[in-house]
C-alpha cells in the first residue's frame, strides 16, 4: 500500500513529513520512533489506528509497533490532556522538594498523578530525571522545561495555563514568569514551543519562530 493511502487522513504537511522521515533513514524501520510522534500528533494520542498506520508505513506488524511504543514513556497510548505536566521526582529534584511541587500541581489542577482532568486540560504525571537537576525542582509542560519551580510557582504556572490557554507552550516564556534557579545560563530567549503533548522538534510538534 502506498504511503499516501495509509495516511490519507493526515494533514498534507504531515504526510509530507512522514514521507521524508521514511526516506531519511538507511532502513525504513528506523523511522518508527519519529513516525510514532507524528501519528500521536495526528490522532491526539497513540490510538490503535495510529499504531496500525505506523506498522503499515514501516513494514512491521501492528503488534511489533505496539511493542516498541509501549517500551517508551513518551508515546501516550491513552488520552492526554492539552497540557501534559511532567514533574520530575528523581533524586536531585526529590532532594529539593519535588514531592511538594507534585502535590501543589495535583491540587491546583485537581488532577491526581497519572490522570487527566475531566475537562481534558491537564494530564499530570511524575517522571524520572529530565536533566534539569541543577535547576531542581524541575517541571515540563508538553516537554518544554521550566527550572527552579517551587511548589507555589508550579501552581501559578498551571493557573496561567488554564486561564490564558496558550496555543504554543514556550519554555523561555514559562521560565521567565514561573521559573527560578537554572542549571546553566540559557542565553537568548527563544519563541519556539510545543503545540501538543509531543516533543516540539523539527519533523513534528514544534511551532513558533526560531530565534535569530
Amino acid at each position: 500500500m502506498s504511503v499516501a493511502t495509509v495516511i490519507s487522513d493526515w494533514s498534507a504537511p504531515n504526510q509530507e513529513r512522514a514521507r521524508t522521515l521514511l526516506e531519511a533513514y538507511p532502513e525504513r524501520r528506523s523511522a518508527a520512533m519519529p513516525l510514532l510522534y507524528l501519528a500521536s500528533l495526528e490522532h491526539g494520542h497513540l490510538t490503535p489506528a495510529a499504531m496500525a498506520q505506523v506498522a503499515e508505513l514501516t513494514g512491521l506488524t501492528s503488534a511489533q509497533v505496539q511493542s516498541v511504543a509501549s517500551f517508551y514513556t513518551m508515546y501516550k497510548r491513552d488520552h492526554v490532556g492539552r497540557y501534559l505536566i511532567s514533574v520530575c521526582t528523581s533524586i536531585s529534584c526529590f532532594l529539593m522538594g519535588a514531592d511538594d511541587v507534585l502535590e501543589a500541581i495535583e491540587e491546583e489542577t485537581g488532577t491526581p498523578d497519572g490522570t487527566t482532568s475531566s475537562d481534558g486540560t491537564f494530564s499530570v504525571e511524575h517522571v524520572e530525571c529530565i536533566g534539569a537537576c541543577g535547576g531542581a525542582p524541575a517541571v515540563q509542560v508538553n516537554y518544554e522545561l521550566v527550572e527552579g519551580v517551587a511548589p507555589e510557582r508550579g501552581a501559578t504556572l498551571c493557573r496561567w495555563l488554564r486561564e490564558s490557554s496558550p496555543e504554543v507552550v514556550v519554555t523561555d516564556e514559562m521560565q521567565k514568569y514561573f521559573g527560578g534557579v537554572r542549571s546553566f545560563d540559557w542565553g537568548i530567549t527563544e519563541t519556539v514551543g510545543a503545540i501538543a503533548p509531543v516533543p516540539a522538534f523539527g519533523p513534528y510538534g514544534s511551532t513558533g519562530e526560531e530565534s535569530a
Binding site: 499504531m51 496500525a52 503488534a63 511489533q64 511493542s67
Partner: protein, 831 residues
C-alpha cells in the same frame, strides 16, 4: 544425510573434566552433549540465544579473572575453563529462581504444565526453600484468549520470550510481542488482531511454564496420566516427527519432536490438533451394507465381507479398480496393492486422486534432494503450491534456510505465497502460462527474468517442484524439474501433498508402478516380482481419471475407494458422481462418510492415525515408523487385516496377517526397500528415518524428466485453484479446534480485472466454469497475475466448481443460478 564437514574440535575443562567439543558451540549445548545439564528457561536449541532469563549462569576463567556468564550464548573456546557448580553459580541460580517465583502465582495444582514444568522442576532441584517475598504479587487478568486456540495467563509468564521469538524468528508472523517494559512487561497481541498463526501451537509447546495453553488440551489430563508414543504426522507428506499423547484411551495432545532431518520439532496447528478427528462421533465404527431400500444398515463383518467378496468375484479382475491408499501406511498400501494385483488381478490402481503428478516422476526424479539440503543451498527455487498452505513444516525449513542460513529464494507461483516476504525474487504468472516462463528462463539472451537467472547461476540449487494449483497441467512440474536439473549443483525435491502418497507409490499403488519403484514396463523388474507373486498384468493400468471414465462407460464394474473422496477432489464433481452411480458395486474402506462413499454398496470402517503401526515414506523418500497407541473405534479394523480376510473369502492368499509380516515381505520384494526393517527405524541413529534411494544402490527407478513440450494454455480468466491449510476436508471439519478456522469462500480477482468487469470488492458474484457455477464473494487481490481468478480449493462451496481451466465471473447470472439449482435438484432426486 547431506554431507557436512566435521566440526573442528577444541578441548575445554568442564567442572574439572577435560572434554572435546566442537569449536564455537555454546557452552550450554556442549555441556549437555557431555551429560552436564545446565538449567535454562529462555534458551531453545532451535532459536538464537538471547540470554535473558539468566538461569544458565556459569563461571568461566578468563584472563581478567573468573567471570559469571550465561552458558546459552557463550561459545566454547580452546582451553576454556568452565565451572557449572561453583558456590557462586549455585547461589546465582537460586537467586534467579527466587526472582522468577516472587511474582509467579504458584497455581501448579490447576496448571496444565504442573508435573512437566521446568520452573517447578528446577525449583525443586536448584531453588530456595521458601519465599521471602511478602508483598503483593503482580496481577493480570487471568487467561485471556490470544486466538481461537491459544490462551495466555500473564501471571504465569516468566518473560523468556520463547513464544515471541518463535513467531518472529521461526514462523515469521510476529503477532504476539512484549508490551510495556521492566516489571510491567507482558506478552500480548495487538487489539483485535488475534494470534492467527498457522504455527501458534508451537508457542504452547515451548512455553517453559503454563502461561500459554491450548484450548484442546486445557484441563484434559495431568502429565503423569499421559502415555506417549513417537510417530509421524500424516497432515502432509513432509514426515514431521511427533509424539502422540493419550490419557484413558483418548489422544489428548500432540507435540512436535525435534527431528534434525525434517521438522526441527515444529508443527503446524493442523499437525497438532487434527487428532481430534479420530475421536469424532462421526467416525465409522461398524460395517455398513446398503439394503434393498437403498439405506445403509449396520452389518456384521462376516456379512459385509461376504458381500464384497461376492461382488468382486462376480466380475472380471480387470473390471475392478481402486482409488486411494495415500493416507495409509506403507504396509497397508502394500497389502492393498498385492490384493489388487494378485487376488483381484487388476492393474487399475491409483493412490492419487485429483492432483496427480506422474508417479514415475514423483518416485524417481534424480537427483532427489533431502530437506536438510536446503540448509546448504545457495539458491532455493520453489515452483509449487504455497508451501505455507500445503507443507507448513517444510515452509518453516525453507524459512530457516533463507533467514538463518543465507540461501537466496526464488518463488514462482500464480499469486502471493507465504514465502514472498523473504524471497529474493518472485515470478507471478497466469495459470496455464507456466511453460512460457520456463521457456524464458531457459532461452539464452531473453530479456525477462534476468535477476532470477543471475541468482540461479549460484549453486547448489535446490528446487522444490510441484503443482501450483489443481488446474495446472501436471506435466509442467516435469518441465520445471527438467529445467532445474540443468542448474549448477542442483537437486529436486518433488512435492505431492497427501500424507503418505510417496509410500503408496513406492508400494505400487500406481497404474505404472510395481512395489519398490519398479515400472510396470520394466520386464526384469516385473519378472523379479512374478518370481514371488506369480504372473502379473504386463500392461499399465488406468489412472484415476481413466477409472472414472471407465466406470462411466461401463468398461469397469466395481470400485474400491480407500480413504478417497474423488467427488470432492475430482476435476468434474458431477461426472465423478455419475461414474460412481454407474458402477455396479462400490466398496469404501474409510474412517468417515464423505461425498463419494455415501452411495457405496458396502462401507468398511478402518483404523486410522494413531491406531495402526507401520512405516511411511515422505517427499524425500525417507522411511519412518508410525505407531499405534490406541484401538480404532467400535469394530473398526486395520486395513491389512480386512484385506487378508477378504482374500481368503475370494479364494486367495494374501499372507498379510500382521504388520511385521508385511514389512518383511516388502523388504523381500520391493528393491528400494530391501534393507528396511522396523527395528532399524525404532532404535538407534536411524530413529529419525532412513532415506532409501542411493543408500544401497538398489533404487530401480531413475526418472529424468525432459521438456514435455507443453505450450501455454490460459484463457481469459484462467483458474488458479490453490489449496489452503484449513480446507473443508473431513479431517479439518471433524476437528473442533480447526473447523472454525476454515476461511470464508471467495473468488479473488486482480483489481484491474474486477474493474474491467465492473465488479467491486466484497460483491457477490457468480463464478462459472465448464463443470459448475458457484456464488462467491469477490475479493480484490493485486498479487494475482492479471487475467486469472483464484478460488481456494475444497472449501465448503467452492469444490462444486470442480477444476475447469477457465472461469467467467459476473455480477449476476440468473440463468446460471437457476440451471445450477435445477441440476442439483434433479441429481438429488435421482440418487
Amino acid at each position: 544425510m547431506p554431507e557436512q564437514p566435521p566440526p573442528e574440535m577444541v578441548t575445554i575443562s568442564l567442572d574439572g573434566q577435560e572434554i572435546e567439543v566442537p569449536q564455537g558451540e555454546y557452552i550450554i549445548k556442549a555441556a549437555e552433549d557431555q551429560g552436564t545439564y545446565i538449567p535454562r528457561f529462555c534458551y531453545h536449541s532451535r532459536m538464537k540465544p538471547v540470554g535473558l532469563c539468566r538461569m544458565c549462569l556459569v563461571e568461566v576463567e578468563t584472563p581478567r579473572g573468573r567471570i559469571l556468564t550465561t552458558a546459552c550464548n557463550t561459545p566454547v573456546a580452546p582451553e576454556m575453563i568452565v565451572d557449572t557448580e561453583s558456590a557462586v553459580v549455585q547461589k546465582a541460580q537460586e537467586g534467579i529462581l527466587e526472582f522468577l517465583l516472587i511474582n509467579h502465582p504458584l497455581d501448579c495444582p490447576v496448571c496444565d504444565k504442573g508435573g512437566e514444568c521446568p520452573l517447578q522442576d528446577q525449583t525443586v532441584a536448584y531453588g530456595p526453600g521458601e519465599s521471602r517475598f511478602v508483598e503483593e504479587k503482580r496481577h493480570f487478568e487471568k487467561p485471556i484468549p490470544l486466538s481461537d486456540i491459544v490462551l495466555m495467563d500473564r501471571e504465569r509468564c516468566i518473560l523468556c520470550a520463547r513464544c515471541t521469538r518463535f513467531s518472529e524468528e521461526v514462523s515469521g508472523d510476529p503477532l504476539i510481542e512484549f508490551v510495556g517494559r521492566g516489571n510491567q512487561t507482558h506478552v500480548i497481541t495487538f487489539p483485535d488482531e488475534p494470534f492467527a498463526s498457522y504455527f501458534s501451537g508451537n508457542t504452547v509447546q515451548i512455553c517453559p511454564v503454563g502461561a500459554l495453553t491450548a484450548k484442546p488440551y486445557r484441563f484434559k489430563a495431568r502429565p503423569w496420566d499421559l502415555e506417549a508414543i513417537e510417530s509421524v504426522s500424516m497432515v502432509d507428506a513432509s514426515g514431521a516427527s511427533i509424539s502422540i499423547e493419550t490419557s484413558q484411551n483418548e489422544v489428548v495432545r500432540i507435540n512436535g519432536v525435534d527431528n534434525d532431518a525434517t521438522n526441527h520439532g515444529w508443527l503446524s496447528d493442523k499437525d497438532r490438533f487434527v487428532f481430534q478427528a479420530i475421536h469424532s462421533e462421526n467416525r465409522l465404527a461398524t460395517p455398513l451394507i446398503r439394503d434393498d431400500a437403498g439405506d445403509l444398515q449396520p452389518a456384521s463383518w462376516g456379512d459385509a465381507l461376504d458381500r464384497v467378496a461376492d461382488a468382486l468375484g462376480s466380475v472380471r479382475g480387470d473390471e475392478v479398480a481402486s482409488i486411494g491408499g495415500a493416507n495409509n501406511t506403507n504396509e497397508e498400501a502394500f497389502a492393498l496393492g498385492k490384493f489388487l494385483r494378485t487376488v483381484v488381478v487388476t492393474p487399475h490402481i491409483d493412490a492419487q486422486v485429483g492432483d496427480a503428478l506422474n508417479p514415475e516422476f514423483l518416485a524417481g526424479v534424480t537427483p532427489r534432494a533431502e530437506i536438510g539440503d536446503l540448509d546448504g543451498a545457495a539458491t532455493i527455487l520453489v515452483w509449487a503450491g504455497d508451501l505455507k498452505e500445503e507443507f507448513p513444516t517444510l515452509f518453516l525449513r525453507v524459512r530457516h534456510a533463507v533467514t538463518q542460513m543465507g540461501a537466496k529464494l526464488i518463488v514462482v507461483h500464480p499469486r502471493r505465497t507465504g514465502l514472498d516476504n523473504i524471497a529474493a525474487e518472485k515470478i507471478t504468472y497466469r495459470p496455464g502460462e507456466g511453460p512460457e516462463v520456463v521457456r524464458k528462463l531457459t532461452a539464452q539472451g531473453d530479456q525477462d527474468y534476468g535477476a532470477v537467472r543471475d541468482l540461479l547461476t549460484a549453486g547448489p540449487v535446490i528446487a522444490l517442484v510441484g503443482l501450483t494449483g489443481r488446474a495446472e497441467d501436471p506435466r509442467l512440474a516435469e518441465a520445471v524439474a527438467a529445467y532445474a536439473l540443468g542448474l549448477p549443483g542442483s537437486k529436486v525435491l518433488p512435492l505431492a501433498r497427501r500424507a503418505n502418497v510417496f509410500g503408496a507409490l513406492d508400494m505400487g499403488l500406481a497404474p505404472t508402478l510395481l512395489p519398490g519403484r519398479v515400472p510396470v514396463k520394466s520386464e526384469s523388474g516385473r519378472a523379479e516380482l512374478e518370481s514371488h507373486w506369480g504372473p502379473l498384468p504386463g500392461e499399465a493400468g488406468l489412472d484415476t481419471a481413466g477409472i472414472i471414465a471407465g466406470l462411466a462407460a461401463g468398461d469397469l464394474k466395481a470400485l474400491l475407494l480407500v480413504g478417497a473422496d474423488p467427488v470432492r477432489d475430482g476435476r468434474n464433481p458431477d461426472a465423478v458422481r455419475a461414474a460412481l452411480d454407474a458402477a455396479e458395486f462400490v466398496v469404501s474402506l474409510d474412517m468417515f462418510l464423505n461425498d463419494s462413499n455415501q452411495q457405496a454398496s458396502v462401507i468398511l470402517p478402518v483404523d486410522g492415525f494413531a491406531e495402526t503401526e507401520g512405516t511411511v515414506t515422505n517427499i524425500e523418500g525417507r522411511v519412518q515408523k508410525v505407531n499405534r497407541i490406541l484401538p480404532g473405534p467400535g469394530q473398526s479394523r486395520a486395513l491389512w487385516s480386512i484385506l487378508d480376510e477378504l482374500s481368503s473369502r475370494m479364494g486367495g492368499q494374501l499372507g498379510a496377517g500382521d504388520g511385521p509380516a508385511i514389512a518383511k515381505e516388502i523388504a523381500l520384494v520391493a528393491p528400494a526397500y530391501r534393507s528396511m526393517t522396523w527395528d532399524r527405524l525404532e532404535w538407534g541413529p536411524e530413529r529419525d528415518g532412513v532415506v532409501m534411494p542411493d543408500r544401497d544402490g538398489v533404487q530401480e527407478l531413475r526418472f529424468v524428466p525432459d521438456d514435455s513440450g507443453l505450450r501455454p494454455t490460459a484463457g481469459r480468466l484462467a483458474l488458479h485453484s490453490g489449496r489452503v491449510l484449513y480446507d473443508g476436508g473431513t479431517r479439518n471439519t471433524q476437528s473442533p479446534a480447526l473447523a472454525g478456522l476454515t476461511p470464508d469462500p471467495a473468488v479473488y480477482l486482480h483489481p484491474r480485472d474486477a474493474s474491467a468487469l465492473a465488479l467491486a470488492d466484497g460483491q457477490e458474484v457468480d463464478v462459472a466454469g465448464e463443470f459448475g457455477t458457484v456464488r462467491l464473494r469477490l475479493e480484490l487481490d493485486p498479487s494475482l497475475a492479471e487475467g486469472s481468478a483464484y478460488v481456494p480449493a475444497n472449501l465448503d462451496s467452492t469444490w462444486v466448481l470442480g477444476v475447469p481451466d477457465v472461469v467467467t465471473v459476473e455480477a449476476q447470472s440468473s440463468k446460471g443460478k437457476k440451471n445450477e439449482k435445477k441440476k442439483g435438484k434433479k441429481k438429488g432426486a435421482g440418487e
